[in-house]
């Protein structure tokens, strides 16, 4: 950027000296440390509040799908057995939420299930009553279905009524469901283990059926096997 008439030396004297590398490193390092400090502070301050929010959200969902429940306790369950929340972790089985009433009686178990619906993954929490061997309710946790059509699975009262006492009896060998839970076309429900799909939202309804069936085939026999321990609450 030299002006006409200037010598080379004068032009060079106008350019600022290059920033020493050490200054750049120090700045970046300093900024990074300040950034880290701020983030850690924010994290420490909000972590307990967030944990509490999550606890409240899960319990609201659990108490909705297991009617009459007042208290919840987490367990990890897989083919190897049942572990309490303190003994196990996500690697030792699927997390289930055992729900008890005010007297400590087991009212039901809430489980998560998911499957691909029309647009994206649908995730639900549903309740299972081991005494009547039936599903007691569902609550959609996450979905991206078409508003006004597929998203009716979350609040259409007729559809949700399917799950008030959906038959999930085990077969004679007690290792799988006696009848697969499946969604049928709207108006064609004849058996207590069928789900009456929402007309116009067949794929979303079918996804609910598939995920409960898959989860149930896997988990209900295990729940029945470990029922005594679940009832005891430890």
């Amino acid at each position: 950027m030299s002006q006409p008439g200037q010598t080379n030396a004068e032009a060079q004297a106008h350019t600022p000296p290059p920033t020493p590398g050490i200054k750049m490193l120090l700045t970046l390092g300093g900024i990074s440390m300040l950034a880290g400090l701020l983030v850690v502070l924010a994290f420490q301050y909000t972590a307990p509040i967030i944990a509490e929010n999550q606890r409240i959200a899960i319990e609201k969902a659990v108490f909705q799908v297991v009617p009459g429940a007042m208290e919840r306790r987490d367990f990890f369950l897989d083919a190897q057995g049942l572990k309490t929340a303190t003994e196990g972790d996500e690697a030792s089985g699927e997390r289930i939420y055992a729900a008890y009433d005010a007297n400590g009686q087991l009212k039901g178990i809430a489980l998560k299930a998911e499957a691909t619906g029309y647009q994206d993954v649908i995730r639900i929490l549903y309740g299972y009553d081991p005494a009547c061997e039936c599903v007691t309710g569902i609550r959609v946790l996450k979905m991206a279905e078409t508003p006004g059509l597929g998203d009716k699975i979350a609040f259409d009262p007729d559809f949700l009524a399917n799950f008030n006492a959906l038959d999930a009896a085990l077969n004679a060998a007690r290792d799988a469901l006696a009848n697969s839970i499946v969604a049928v076309k709207h108006g064609n429900k004849t058996q207590p283990w069928q789900i009456d799909a929402i007309s116009g939202a067949t794929i979303s309804s079918a996804a609910i059926g598939r995920m409960i069936n898959a989860s149930g085939q896997r988990m209900f026999p295990l729940i029945q096997k470990n029922l005594a321990q679940l009832k005891g609450g430890q």
Binding site: K23, M24, A35, A42, F43, A57, T146, P147
Partner: protein
Amino acid sequence: MALPNQQEKVTLDTFLRGLWEENPVFVMLLGLCPVLAVTNSTMNAIAMGLATTFVLVASSTLVSLLRKFIPKQVRIATYIIIIATFVTIVDYTIQAISLELYNALGAFIQLIVANCVILGRAEAYASKQKLGASVINALGMGAGFTIALLCLGTVRELLGAGTILGFPIFSANFEPWVVMILPPGGFFVLGAWLLLFEYLKQRREKNLLEKEGVTSGSQ
């Protein structure tokens, strides 16, 4: 507009510029990703607008405070680290305030860091101006951004669900125009707003030309 290296005096214009003349969305077409993604409801739009404004003001403040200490070569990297820090803070804050809102906004809270408006402000303004001017300007930009989000959010929610902030506006017979809360609706509504503004601008220019034609006598 002041020359870039001149220290600008803080005036009302410093704030108002971001609302209309240099509206980040409608005029500069920056930061469009969240504008279309989270405006399917008015509540989400307001939350995103406030979150972005907070990050904008906070990062402009820090950048302006440190502007004399940041070497030119690493300035972009520094700005990005600062912005990312405040976005992380906002992310945890929203989680603590309302999990429902957090799930509705999803990944777009963290995507505020990629919002060109914030980096653009830091580079073009906050790094050169004093603290006061930077903060006021950032507030103006944030307000303009929030207003743009509101424009889209209310229209999309009203047409797509018949409600505003969850309150039903139309009668029960209203058939929701569902596409408005789906992705194509976002594009259409923003396009419509831009059309409207362009039309208003052209009309104003035509009126100005006509007025000039009258005052300068017969040509």
